[in-house]
Subunit: 202 residues, 2 copies
C-alpha cells in the first residue's frame, strides 16, 4: 500500500476513535490530523470537510457491520437461531471494544443519531438509511420465523423495528453503566416480543 | 419573583434549549448568557461551571418528569392501564416539543447519555440514578400486573429495564426520522414483552 492510502486510513482510524470518545462536536480536524500524524493539507486532499470525514467513518463502520449482520442473518440456520447469534455477536463486539479501550463506546450510529439528528442533515439521512437496512435484515428473519410458526406477531415489520430499537436502548444502558451484563435479559425479552417464548430449547 | 431568581431561571431555560439543539459540547457559557440576556459575571454567581449548569438542567427536567411518572404510575387504575397512560404521555410530550420547536428533540437524558457517558463522570452518575428511578417506577407496576395475573414474565425487574430501554430506543428513532408515528407499535410490543397480549380490551 502506498503512502497516500496509508494517510487516508490513518485519518479514518483517528476520526473513528475521536468520534467514539468525544463525539462529533468534540472532534476537531486539527485533533484528527495530530492523532493521525498527517498534515492539514493532506487532510483536505482526502476529505472536503469534517462532515465528509464523519460520513466516511459511518460508511466504513456500516460496511463492516453490514457484512457481519448479513452473514449471520442470511445463514442456513433456523431463523430464531440466527437472530440469537446476532445478539451474541453484538455482545461480543461490545466486550472487545471495552477490552481495547476501557470504556464501552456503544453504537456509533446511535451516538451520532442523538448528537446530530437536528444538526447535520447529510449524516441524519445516511443514518436513517442504515437503520432502515438493519430493520430490513431483521425483518426477513422475523417473517421467516412467523411463516415457520416459531414467532407469533401481527406485524412483522413493527416487530423488527422494536427489536432494533430495543437493541439500541440496551446498548445505551450498557454504555451508561459500563456493564455488559445489562444485555443478559435482552434475548429473553426479544423472544417474548416475538411471542416465541419456549420456542428455543438451547 | 425578584431579579435574582429571574436570571437563574432564564439561564436554565436557555441552557435547556441549547442542550437540546446543539448538545453539551455545542453549548458554550457565552452562548447561554447571550440567549438568556445575562452578564457572564451573573452566570458564575449561580453556577460554578458548565457542568454544574448541565446538572441543574438535568435536575429540573427530572423533577418535572418524576412528578408526571409518579402521578401516572402510582394512580388507582389497573397496572397495565397505568403503563399505557405513561406511553401516551410520552408521545404527547414529544408531540408538544415538535409543535414548539419544529424538530423532535427526543429524551434529554438519552441524548446526554450517548454524548457524555465516557466524558463527564458527575453527569454520568446522575443519569444512572435517574434511569434507575425510572426502572423502579415501571417495575412496581409490572410486579403488580404479574401479581394480578395480567402479566406473565419470569423476571419483573428485567422486564421493567427492557420497557425503559425500548422506550429510549423508540424515542431515538422518532428523533432520527422526525416522525412520531414511529411510536405507534410500541404499546403492542410492550404488551408482548410482558406476556400480556390480549389483556387489554381498550
Amino acid at each position: 500500500m502506498g503512502r497516500t492510502s496509508d494517510a487516508r486510513e490513518k485519518i479514518l482510524a483517528s476520526a473513528h476513535s475521536l468520534l467514539e470518545s468525544r463525539g462529533y462536536a468534540g472532534m476537531g480536524v486539527a485533533d484528527v490530523c495530530k492523532a493521525a500524524g498527517v498534515a492539514k493539507g493532506s487532510f483536505y486532499y482526502f476529505f472536503e470537510s469534517k462532515e465528509a470525514l464523519a460520513l466516511a467513518v459511518v460508511e466504513q463502520q456500516w460496511a463492516g457491520q453490514f457484512a457481519v449482520w448479513s452473514e449471520i442473518l442470511e445463514s442456513a440456520e433456523a431463523p430464531l437461531d440466527r437472530l440469537h447469534r446476532l445478539f451474541e455477536a453484538t455482545e461480543n463486539t461490545l466486550r472487545a471494544g471495552r477490552r481495547s479501550c476501557g470504556a464501552i463506546s456503544g453504537c456509533l450510529f446511535g451516538n451520532l443519531t442523538l448528537e446530530l439528528s437536528n444538526q447535520t442533515e447529510a449524516i441524519r439521512l445516511r443514518l436513517q438509511e442504515i437503520f432502515d437496512a438493519q430493520v430490513n435484515l431483521v425483518h426477513e428473519v422475523v417473517a421467516e420465523a412467523r411463516d415457520r410458526g416459531n414467532a407469533h406477531v401481527a406485524d412483522t415489520r413493527e416487530a423488527a423495528r422494536s427489536i432494533v430499537a430495543q437493541l439500541e436502548g440496551h446498548i445505551m444502558f450498557v454504555k451508561l453503566y459500563n456493564d455488559i451484563q445489562r444485555l443478559d435479559a435482552m434475548w429473553a425479552n426479544c423472544l417474548a416480543l416475538l411471542g416465541a417464548r419456549g420456542e428455543l430449547a438451547a
